[in-house]
């Protein structure tokens, strides 16, 4: 199993979600992160200017079976790419095991919907 961590633009989230659904990735988690990077923005607060590059991003975390990793990555790239600086990154992290809390099932089976994919 792999954990796919994709850091994308907030505005691309809906498209990425749809792209993932198309390749049958139906379950994932996401949350807001801020990225620090080089595309600095000058900000002012009550007359104090401060340089910052905090950019709001969404981090999508998907645990997939090994065989699905590449198609997941491809789907994300396709949907999230604009070609301009700030498109974000994808990281692939090894996962040792997965457990479905509801049933206690472990391993690959915990990742997919038994009824559907068999």
């Amino acid at each position: 199993m792999k954990k796919i961590e994709a850091i994308i633009r907030k505005t691309k989230f809906e498209e990425v979600k749809d792209a993932l659904l198309e390749v049958d990735i139906e379950w994932f988690s996401y949350y807001d992160v801020r990225g620090v990077g080089k595309s600095r923005q000058g900000r002012i607060y009550r007359g104090v200017v401060y340089d910052t590059s905090y950019i709001e991003r969404i981090l999508i975390s998907i645990i997939v079976r090994d065989k699905n990793a590449e198609k997941t990555v491809a789907a994300i790239i396709k949907a999230a790419q604009t070609g301009e600086i700030g498109d974000g990154r994808i990281f692939i992290i090894p996962v040792e095991d997965a457990i479905r809390i509801r049933t206690g099932e472990r391993g690959d089976i915990a990742l997919y919907n038994a009824e559907k994919e068999k």
């Binding site: 633009r9 002012i44 200017v49 301009e84």
Partner: protein, 442 residues
């Protein structure tokens, strides 16, 4: 004032106590003083009424700011707040310098005079400065409405310019027609817009609609045939805004009587207070009910808009409709609103983030026409024929034409010069950071 009165008291005390000295003349002069004092009291009570109403209407600026901020995304909150703050600031100055003269200056049917406010322009039963203040808070409302329809994508510098133009010129001109002695107020059956369903709300709605069309929809709003919801970031703030607006309307409508003294005025402002409240309540209820039926769930965002629809609609006729009439107008406004929101968004594919064109434009127009039906003194439903309805129709159409065309010209010039819409990147990342260098939430 107390001293003056002391004099009368002493005078009249002397009259009654020192019996022999009582002459008809001394009584007559005491009576004159008393009568003058009564005159001053009438003047004072009316002034107090109008000033407190002005304070309530001023507070509507906060209501609009919160409604617009709550119903849009957090990345544009600083921008929305800024707009609502500065349109009132610039509007106050612009109306003082230019707008007031245009609206209430020397009367020709189409436009007043281009002079800064001065004492002589207007006179009536309250100090002219009190009248100026009351009119100022009204003028700023029209500009504020526009900012809602054009939210989340308009260049800030453009906004500053057009909000000044609206308060200084566009609003005062049509305002002159209606309230400044202009042509609409001299129709055979004068156009009746008591507190501004058309003069303020519809006008703002139409200009906003023009702006929304010329800007185009926000990125991601329409995708092919699909209409995407872009939910507001904070409905608590939005709901508070609506409560504040409702409160402010108790200044907006009853204050427009511009007087409170005398039985007739006291009864009138009480009645206006009641019709305003009943229409708001009815608009809330019908929007709730219809949203429940139509979408299966009672939706807060729609119900809040229904409240505003009821308030906007009753504004034109709050003085002449009965309590029951107000309920009817409110109920219809809440229903009309929902269809209007759908029509503008789904059929015409116009993106009006807070629904300003529907809430203020459409229901404002409806409410103005409703005067021709529900007015107890001129309305069709009370057997007075279609004369009034026709006048109302003329007023609604001419102000709409004015708002749409003046808006078009204004936005067209801005588009060709400073630019109306922000860059794609700015819109995506939020106007707050790129246009203001600040985030609302940290």
């Amino acid at each position: 004032m107390a001293e003056v009165l002391d004099t009368i008291m002493i005078a009249s005390d002397s009259i009654s106590s020192v019996v022999p000295v009582v002459t008809t003349d001394s009584i007559a002069s005491s009576l004159t003083v008393a009568t003058d004092t009564i005159g001053e009291l009438i003047f004072s009570l009316d002034t107090v009424w109008v000033l407190l109403a002005s304070a309530l209407v001023f507070f509507m600026q906060a209501g609009f700011a919160l409604v617009e901020a709550g119903f849009t995304r957090s990345k544009n909150t600083v921008n929305i707040l800024m707009k609502n703050l500065i349109d009132f600031a610039f509007g106050s100055l612009a109306f003082f310098l230019i707008g007031f003269g245009i609206m209430f200056g020397v009367k020709n049917g189409f436009i007043g005079s281009f002079i800064p406010y001065s004492d002589g322009i207007w006179s009536g039963g309250i100090p002219s400065e009190a009248f100026l203040i009351f009119q100022t808070v009204f003028a700023a409302t029209a500009a504020t409405i526009v900012s809602g329809a054009m939210a989340e994508r308009t260049h800030f510098v453009s906004y500053v310019i057009f909000s000044v133009v609206i308060s200084a010129i566009i609003y005062p001109i049509s305002g002159h027609w209606i309230w400044g002695g202009g042509w609409l107020s001299t129709l055979a059956e004068p156009f009746h817009d008591f507190a501004g369903s058309t003069a303020v709300h519809s006008l703002g709605g139409w200009i906003g609609l023009t702006g929304a069309i010329m800007l185009g929809p926000r990125l991601g709003k329409f995708k092919g045939k699909k209409v995407n919801a872009i939910p507001g970031h904070n409905l608590t703030i939005g709901a508070l805004g609506v409560f504040i607006l409702w409160l402010g309307w108790f200044g907006f409508n009853p204050g427009s009587q511009l007087a409170a003294s005398g039985t007739a005025n006291a009864v009138a402002i009480s009645h206006i207070f009641l019709t305003t409240n009943l229409a708001a309540a009815a608009g809330t209820v019908s929007a709730l009910a219809l949203s429940w039926i139509k979408y299966g769930k009672p939706s807060l965002s729609i119900t809040l808009n229904g409240t505003l629809a009821g308030l906007v609609a009753v504004t034109a006729g709050c003085d002449v409709v009965s309590g029951w009439g107000a309920v009817a107008i409110g109920l219809l406004a809440g229903i009309l609103l929902i269809f209007s929101l759908r029509l503008i968004e789904n059929v015409f594919k116009i993106d009006d983030p807070v629904g300003a064109a529907s809430v203020h434009g459409i229901t404002g127009a409806f409410g103005t026409l409703a005067v021709g039906l529900f007015s107890q003194s001129t309305g069709l439903f009370y057997g007075f024929g279609t004369q009034a309805l026709l006048s109302q129709f003329i007023g609604v159409v001419s102000v709409a034409a004015w708002g749409l065309s003046a808006g078009f010209i204004l936005f067209f010039i801005l588009k060709k010069t400073v630019g109306l819409r922000v860059d794609k990147r700015v819109e995506e990342e939020g106007l707050d950071i790129y246009e203001h260098g600040e985030a609302a939430y940290n």
